[in-house]
Each structure stands twice: as C-alpha cells, then as structure tokens.
Symmetry: C2
C-alpha cells in the first residue's frame, strides 16, 4: 500500500480547499478542474483518483465550509459552538454582516457566494447548503438572549437577513449602496435577536 493513506487524504483536502476558494470567487461553472488541481499543486489527470466528477467536488467544497474555513471564521468571531453563550448570536450577526466578511471573497460563506449555483446543482450539494443554513439557525436560536419569544422564527428571519443583506451587497456595483444595505440588514438583525 504505497503512498500512505494520510498522503492521499492530504491531497484530497488540498483539492477541496482549492475548489472551495475558487468556486467562491468565480462560481461553479467558471472554474476548471485544471485550475483547481493547479491551485492544489497537482495535475489535471489525477483529479479522478479522488472524485467521481466535478459535481461531487462542488458538493464537498460546500460542505467543507462548516468545519473547515467556517470554523476559523467562528473562532475569529469569538464563537465556540461547544460552549455557546447568550451573547454569541449577536457576535454571529456582527461578524456575518461585517464589511470584513463582505470583502473576503475567498473565505466568505458559500450561502453568500453560491446560492444560484447550488439551486441548480445536484441533491448532495443542496443538502450541504441546507446544513450550513440549519447550523446557522441553530446557533442563532441557541445563543439568543434567554428570555426571547419566537426564538426559532426570529432565528430564521435573522438568517434570511444575514444572507440576503450579504448577497445583495456582494452583487451591487455601487459600493456605497452595498454598504447601506449591509448596515441596514445588520441593524435589523440586531433588533430581531435582542429581547
């Protein structure tokens, strides 16, 4: 069994991470397998040792966010999912709807960068996307100030504000308007999650 399993896994992980980043930046269809493999430091042909096809890579790239780049992101935001505290919903909203997150095209949440792509992708990818939303809603709901009514509904609406505000801000060419949308969404989401 030449090439240790860990070597194999490391290559695979490099491919997924390169793909996640490139898909975020350019979209599913505008990224070639050649580009991904090059970014991962490998060559074209090897791709099919690791994945069935390009769609399978997309699904992996989306689902990798939750425990990969997303975990770093949460850490930066001061959020610890194994020890949630009532102020962390606000930290989540602050970080998600921040200018920094808006500008971080490579590292931002796939729900912002890829919703239309995912809507047309295969069921696995859609599941992965859904898991991102479910996790976000769970976090907002669980880490909301204690005495909130309609916790679940408010968490869902906050998530819609977070994603909607950022999707719009990312797409608008007038960056001043984009900032206004982002900050209005941030303000409204803050209202929603406070008691």
């Amino acid at each position: 069994m030449p090439y240790s399993a860990s070597h194999r896994d490391a290559s695979r992980a490099k491919i997924v991470e390169a793909a996640r980043m490139l898909f975020n930046k350019y979209g599913f269809q505008n990224v070639t397998i050649d580009q991904v493999m090059q970014e991962a430091g490998l060559t074209r042909g090897g791709f099919y040792n690791h994945f069935k096809n390009k769609e399978a890579l997309f699904s992996e790239a989306v689902s990798s966010f939750l425990m990969g780049r997303g975990a770093e992101w949460r850490q930066d935001a001061g959020i610890d999912i194994s020890n949630l505290k009532p102020e962390m919903a606000q930290q989540m909203v602050d970080a998600y709807l921040s200018s920094k997150h808006l500008g971080d095209i490579d590292g931002q949440c796939p729900m912002i960068a890829l919703p239309s792509d995912v809507a047309r992708a295969d069921p696995e990818t859609q599941e992965a996307f859904q898991n991102l939303l479910t996790a976000m809603v769970w976090l907002l709901e669980t880490a909301m100030p204690i005495n909130q009514a309609n916790r679940h509904q408010n968490a869902l609406a906050s998530a819609a504000l977070c994603v909607g505000g950022m999707v719009l801000a990312r797409t608008l060419p007038d960056s001043e308007l984009a900032e206004d949308v982002r900050s209005a969404a941030h303000h409204a989401a803050t209202q929603l999650i406070s008691a």
Copy 2:
C-alpha cells in the same frame, strides 16, 4: 427598408422575453443561444442581428423585468407605482414573500433567481440588477405607513429580507424548511414596515 421596424422590435422583444424566462429557470450559463432563439420562434444565426453577444442579452433580460414581467406582477399584487398608497408596501411584501412567487420560477424576480450569476456578469448587467433593487426600495420606502421613522433604513432591510428569504427558500431542498424560512421572513418584514 423592408421588414418594418415594428417587426424587428417584436422579434427582439420575443428574444428578450424568452431569455428572461430561460435564464431565470436554468441560469445564465446553462441556457444556450439556440434554446433562446428556438423559444422565441427563430433560428440560431439571427441572434447576432439583434445583440452583440450573449452577455448583452443577459443584461437586457434582467433590465426587462422592471417594466415587463414585473409590471404584470405588480398589477397582480394591486400595486400602482404612479399612485402609491401607504398600504402598498405591505402588499409588496405579501406578494414578494408569497408561496406563489416562490413557485413561479419562470416569472419570479431576477434578484431571487440570478444573484450569483449577476455578481459575475458585466457592469451593464449589474446596473440592471441594481435598478431592480433601487426600485423595490423606493417603492417600500414611499409606500410605507406615514408616521414611520428610519424609512430608508427599514426599506433597505425589508428588501434584504425579501430577497434573502426567497433566495434561501428557492435553494433549500427540504420544502418544509423552505416554507418556514419564507414565512419567518414575511413576518419579520411585516414588522419592519409597520409603524
């Protein structure tokens, strides 16, 4: 000057409308010019008599919504932009965040169907997209109950909720969750635009 100008314009309009519908359904890259022309009742080659290239068609398709399919949509919702009344913001939110709008893939607002595509398109298309948002915000702001504070900010946040709620609902494979998101966004947007 054979073929009257009106004949030419009619063909062009048919192409744009076919494109708008197909792009909404399948996304910019998944629609071929062949498909568009066939849907418009014409043949492939004629396309370039009307448009410089596929990107130019995309931009037209997005901008056509505001006064084309979108006008019908507003009429169905009981909204008359030349005679706005204070209850029409609520009508807008009701119609935008309705199950009917969610299911109407062909006819729905391009901000829901195509945000990622537009984020990667040329400046003309992004301008067209921005005009849709600006119009929506203007409508919400202008038709809000009279005695509202923070009208502009609330209109921006409502628009983010409308778009975000629908983008998520369209992408989630679990239709029950999709409904929950849609209705939570609707509830929150209603709060935002009432005094």
